[in-house]
């Protein structure tokens, strides 16, 4: 999964307040709260950056975590968000 390309799902409503993202799916008004680490991944999920790059660039330096643990945690976060259709995960980078 480290080479996957996570991308924020379209048409969600979201707001980041002091490092914590609150995300709403306006179709069913379901609400999701992300901690700071998950928010960092969410914000960087542009569909053109691999999860490993996101972890190395956004998570490890900011939260002082080793890359192996951070990547393992990040994979769990991405898996959970993808299950709720908050993130889309692709093996290929998204088009510009």
């Amino acid at each position: 999964m480290s080479t996957c390309y996570p991308k924020k799902a379209a048409n969600l409503a979201s707001r980041v307040l002091k490092g914590e993202a609150i995300i709403m799916n306006p179709v069913d008004s379901s609400l999701f709260s992300l901690n700071e680490t998950a928010t960092a991944i969410w914000e960087a999920a542009d569909g053109r950056t691999t999860l490993q790059e996101i972890v190395e660039r956004e998570v490890c330096p900011r939260f002082e975590i080793d890359s192996e643990s951070a990547l393992r945690d990040a994979e769990e976060v991405v898996h959970a968000l993808a299950e709720h259709s908050i993130l889309l995960v692709s093996e290929e980078p998204a088009d510009e």
Partner: protein, 263 residues
């Protein structure tokens, strides 16, 4: 056919009906929010029918877009509202609760695109600033309102109206009452603080994080329409309100001493 104008938050709704007794009832119900001056941007025509013809049983509220118009239905009324033309029709029997619900819903629809919200909240003006006390049924909105000191101007004990005005939000009085049964004052002021109510053993104002405030605020927003674009607008407005307002949990006791914290 005659009409009366009900102006809430600066937005007027002209209610026209073939029944003078119905309009007289509305004028009593909405008191200082009712005006004979025809300056309303929204017009509703109410067809007052007998109870048997109006009732469709215990049907729950539904607010759906159909052929470019809003269809707003509940067991006790049927309404259609064209948001572009700002014209609507209501079919109900002669009672004040049905039209009151329709007016609330039309305000939520109008506010969504204007950066405003209707909230499950009491609100009051004190020292020139508005304080909003959010909480669902049983949270203590009416209890707190009942103990408001003389220098506090009560805007509502049940449903509060807030709308963006430049870089801030204004809270407006509403005639929508809870157990207190008294309409709010028809006044407005900039919102200084958003307080989430919690009945407690002591009176204490506890600052809360913005993310937590947004989560709590969203549970107190009145919005009924099944429309993702408008839900997104409501979410954005709630986020803006939280972002530009002080946010607290207000722990309060049954007496009125908590008002000493509201300055």
């Amino acid at each position: 056919m005659t009409a009366t104008n009900i102006v809430i938050g600066g937005t007027g709704i002209e209610v026209a009906s073939n029944r003078g007794d119905f309009l007289a009832m509305l004028e009593r119900q909405y008191a200082e929010f009712a005006s004979p001056v025809a300056n309303s941007s929204i017009r509703l025509t109410v067809d007052v029918v007998d109870q048997a013809a109006a009732s469709a049983g215990d049907e729950d509220l539904r607010v759906q877009r159909e052929a470019g118009c809003w269809s707003i239905t509940r067991g006790d009324f049927e309404a259609r509202y064209d948001q572009v033309r700002r014209r609507g029709t209501v079919r109900q029997d002669v009672n004040r609760h049905s039209i009151d619900s329709v007016i609330r819903i039309i305000h939520t629809l109008a506010l969504a695109s204007e950066g405003g919200l209707l909230l499950h909240a009491a609100s009051a003006i004190r020292n020139g600033s508005a304080f909003v006390f959010a909480g669902r049924s049983g949270a203590g909105k009416t209890t707190l309102s009942r103990h408001a000191p003389a220098d506090a101007c009560l805007l509502s004990d049940e449903i509060s109206y807030v709308r963006k005005a430049g870089e801030t939000f204004l809270a407006w009085g509403t005639p929508f009452t809870g157990e207190l049964g008294t309409p709010g004052a028809n006044q407005s002021a900039p919102v200084k603080a958003l307080c989430f109510l919690r009945q407690a053993e002591e009176n204490r104002l506890v600052p809360i994080e913005k993310a937590e405030a947004l989560r709590q605020l969203l549970t107190n927003v009145l919005f009924f329409a099944d429309d993702p674009d408008m839900v997104r607008q409501v979410f954005d407005t709630a986020g803006e309100l939280v972002g530009c307002t002080e946010t607290f949990q207000l722990n309060f006791t049954q007496g009125g001493a908590a008002w000493e914290l509201i300055q």
